[in-house]
């Protein structure tokens, strides 16, 4: 039972990281119908900046995170303005491919910059610090990631619900042409979407890295973030609550299979594919996900 509670807690913490990553995908998809395959490497870049700022430039955690968010916001907005803006009207194939190009570029850039001496992994608290209650360890970083995710969700909800720009984003998501006719600047909405997504990516990346318990910065972080794909498929591509629910569920699936696979019959590393198996199941049964609009077309 202790193991189960422990795993549930870890799953919740990891799930909240995945929820953040999934939010990044969904916000961009809702605004511009672009699936950003480079989202994982946004995380990587953001986390790398935070890591460098903390360990090489001796900045505190919070200024470092702000700096990392600044960098990913900048990359997102610049990419949107310089590349994607020229791609409007091109087939989705081309647009997805261009995000794959960005993915390669960012990953390689970070790999080269990291070189052979990895900086430490950034985390708000020491990796091993935890509160133990009844034999269950509640890691401080894990607790922080849950709290921060909830805060970000609330802030995002408030932004979308109560601000002019939030309204503009929601209107654009419903009907782009009608939104334009109402005087909404679509370019601002796109820039906002990529900016918000970039900012969230850095936070998600930092907590994902901290949660992995790896003391040094890991270049594979971006690939690990691809698990957000099952999360957004499960939640429904164009649903923001869906991204959060999907993220948490996938996090739980991942951690529970990891915790119980020690029994052996599923083989090594089963947890690395369990989210994808869930995803394939969802695609077979309910391709638009739990909360998505039913506009997915079958042939």
């Amino acid at each position: 039972m202790t193991l189960f509670i422990q795993l549930m807690f870890s799953g919740l913490a990891l799930g909240s990281d995945y929820a953040l990553i999934a939010l990044g995908f969904t916000i961009i998809f809702k605004a511009s119908e672009v699936i950003n395959f480079a989202q994982g490497e946004f995380l990587l870049v953001g986390t790398f900046v935070v890591s460098t700022a903390m360990f090489s430039w001796r900045l505190g955690f919070f200024p470092a995170v702000l700096l990392g968010m600044g960098v990913t916001v900048l990359i997102g907005v610049i990419f949107e303005r310089v590349v994607l803006r020229r791609m409007i009207g091109r087939p989705p194939f081309t647009i997805i491919m261009v995000t794959i190009g960005l993915d390669v570029l960012l990953l390689t850039a970070v790999t080269i910059l990291v070189g052979s001496n990895s900086p430490g992994a950034p985390a708000p608290f020491d990796i091993v610090s935890a509160i133990t209650v009844g034999g269950v360890k509640f890691g401080l970083n894990a607790l922080a990631s849950i709290v921060i995710t909830i805060l970000i969700c609330v802030a995002l909800y408030a932004f979308l619900r109560y601000t002019r720009y939030g309204l503009a984003m929601r209107a654009t998501a419903i009907d782009q042409e009608a939104a334009r006719a109402m005087g909404i600047r679509i370019s601002t909405v796109y820039a906002l979407a990529w900016g918000i997504s970039g900012a969230i990516a850095t936070i998600g990346g930092v907590f994902l890295a901290a949660g992995a318990g790896n003391p040094v910065f890991d270049v594979g972080l971006g690939q690990g973030a691809l698990v957000a794909f099952p999360a957004i498929i499960l939640g429904g591509l164009d649903s923001i609550p869906g991204a959060v629910v999907g993220g948490v569920v996938i996090g739980l699936v991942y951690v529970l299979t990891q915790g119980y696979e020690a029994s052996g019959f599923l083989g090594v590393n089963f947890h690395t594919i369990s989210p994808y198996l869930v995803m394939i199941l969802v695609l077979l049964i309910r391709p638009y996900g739990l909360f998505g609009t039913r506009k997915v077309e079958r042939i």
Partner: protein, 408 residues
């Protein structure tokens, strides 16, 4: 069918084989063939090895181009199918286990394991296809992404066949009778290196695949793929069965990937699960995007660009070595290049290197036409003048030019 140029008895055969028809492309093909022969004979083993791997990669790139270039479906799964092919070949052709822990092998012949590796990959493609392709859009991309991870899991856990995490070594060599293409052997009294021997079956194999793809692209299924790519609704209205067309492309693509995977593993003699990673899939995507989507030559050039250049840089240490030990590896350097090139090509020339070549050819033709036009008819010059104002009229201009040139 008013194509200019000498019409000999070989013309229909050449056209059927998809051989270049214009004299300029023929000259280019000849230069390419001479270059290949020179590298083969005098290039030294390092270059021949690079050539071998590039040809294997070109077969896989052709496979991906069928699915992504011609049929317009996004796939990240080519590495998975290559892995399937490689381990099928290893299982069928590998030597039977000597020690208890050795991976299984049936020791069958080259003529069995090579097609079988393609067929098994194609069969798995046909099993997965219906799930992945029923959904419109980028879902195939996400499902095939999942496939790569599932493949990694399977390749680590199916130890009997794959050798587990450490991989397996006893990959079968292509042999016909007693002659092995994977060891130094004399042919007609000329001593050849291993890589030179391997080259001998690879070149005709690649040529076969290339001609096959070039032809199928211009036949009914190929036209159907391109119609599906360009507009699914319109294709369906014209009576194309979307599902059949997509599955066909997916299965053929998986077949070629499986064959290429088997050849790749046979050539390198070792495969670890890490070989068949997402990175490999992305490299192939880069190859066809940079070389040219929906183009046979584009696939080959792209494979050379993405796979040959970094190996060449490595083998011959062409990179400037830094004084400090933190030099950039050739893989990283080329990844930066192809990452950038994907974006630049998609922005400015979505048809890749082949598109660039076409542009240069058109520009050349324009210059030539202008020069000739000054001397001959005025009809040509006016056509050129109008085409310069409106580049969309290119096709019409070329027609006019040809008619104007014909009486000469």
């Amino acid at each position: 069918m008013s194509a200019p140029g000498p019409v000999g008895s070989s013309a229909p055969v050449a056209a059927l084989l998809g051989l270049p028809r214009s004299s300029r492309s023929r000259a280019l093909a000849l230069v390419g063939a001479i270059l290949l022969a020179l590298i083969f004979l005098f290039g030294g083993d390092g270059w021949v090895s690079i050539l071998d791997f590039t040809m294997v990669a070109a077969i896989a790139a052709l496979g991906l181009n069928v699915l992504s270039g011609y049929a317009g479906q996004i796939s990240l799964g080519i590495a998975f199918f290559m892995g399937i092919g490689a381990y099928t070949a290893a299982w069928l052709g590998g030597s039977p286990p000597q020690l208890p822990g050795d991976p299984a092998g049936l020791g069958l012949s080259f003529v069995i394991w090579l097609p079988a590796s393609g067929i098994v990959a194609a069969f798995i493609g046909a099993l997965i296809g219906p799930t992945a392709l029923r959904l419109k859009g980028f879902y195939l991309g996400i499902v095939t992404l999942a496939l790569v991870f599932i493949g990694q899991y399977l390749f680590i856990n199916l130890r009997v066949i794959t050798g587990g995490q450490q991989g397996r070594f006893n990959f079968p060599a292509p042999t016909i009778g007693d002659f092995s293409f994977a060891s130094p052997n004399p042919i007609f009294g000329v001593q050849l290196t291993t890589n030179q021997c391997f080259f001998l079956p690879l070149l005709p194999l690649l040529a076969l695949v290339a001609v096959f793809i070039a032809n199928i692209a211009r036949s009914r299924p190929g036209r159907a793929w391109q119609a599906v790519r360009d507009n699914e609704t319109a294709a369906a209205i014209m009576g194309i069965n979307l599902f059949e067309a997509k599955i066909g492309a997916f299965v053929l693509s998986s077949f070629l990937a499986g064959t290429a995977g088997a050849l790749d593993a046979s050539l390198s003699g070792i495969a670890t699960p890490g070989t068949w990673s997402l990175l490999l899939s992305i490299q192939f995507i880069a190859a066809i995007l940079i070389g040219g989507v929906a183009s046979v030559w584009g696939s080959i050039l792209g494979a050379a660009f993405v796979f040959a250049i970094p190996t060449a840089l490595n083998t011959f240490s062409l990179l400037p070595q830094n004084a400090s030990s933190t030099g950039i590896s050739s893989g990283d350097l080329s990844a930066i290049f192809y990452g950038l090139l994907i974006i630049v090509f998609l922005l400015f020339e979505p048809a890749g290197i082949i598109g660039l070549a076409r542009r240069i050819r058109t520009a050349n033709q324009r210059i030539e036409t202008r020069r000739k036009g000054g001397e001959t008819t005025t009809a040509t010059t006016t056509a050129v003048a109008s085409s310069e104002r409106e580049p969309q009229l290119d096709v019409e201009r070329m027609d006019l030019t040809r008619r104007a040139d014909a009486p000469q």
